[in-house]
Symmetry: C2
Subunit: 109 residues, 2 copies
């Protein structure tokens, strides 16, 4: 399997509606980095997926709900949760998240 | 398995010498986020590990060598490479990387 190197200028931003947009960044079959932009009050509805997820808050403020627990996070804060755990977020101040998945989100390609 | 949520203020910075320092951020058994700080001219020697790795450049400039190929990267650039692939970096301008591993780097705990 090859390495993937993606320069920021080559990332493609996909408008998801509702004040959110997604950029799929470097990935292999085992792992994928995704940057998600949120306008204030935009919502990532509570959902689950079979992928394990970690999230790094790049900017802004967010209220996450992870497995029924509310937590407010800002720049440099991180979350990590296992496969199948319900999670969602409300953007309190415009910002960006890095979501990292293992394995790759083939549904994002 | 539980979720892990780590606020930036609770991260512990470990000086690795040679102008580098590591903060282990949120992780589960399947995935770990690690922030690595580099002073200019600091080196991450070429090495391998059985974990798959993705890297997001938070700040600064770096020359990576991945599988024998040189590439210069800066903020927002990303790399992703499979288990066992040789890689290393030279810091060209002081900055920080996010390294994400699957599975977790138990050797960092």
């Amino acid at each position: 399997m090859d390495a993937m190197i993606l320069h920021a200028a080559d990332a493609v931003k996909k408008d998801l509606g509702g004040g959110t947009a997604r950029e799929v960044l470097a990935h292999t079959e085992q792992m994928m980095i995704v940057r998600v932009s949120f306008l204030r009050d935009a919502v990532g509805s509570i959902h689950t997926h079979p992928h394990c997820q970690s999230t790094y808050i790049l900017s802004g403020r967010f209220r996450f709900n992870v497995d029924g627990r509310d937590v407010e996070v800002g720049p440099g804060d991180t979350l990590s949760f296992p496969s199948g755990m319900p999670h969602g977020t409300l953007c309190l101040e415009e910002g960006q998240l890095l979501d990292i998945f293992t394995p790759r989100r083939d549904d994002f390609l």
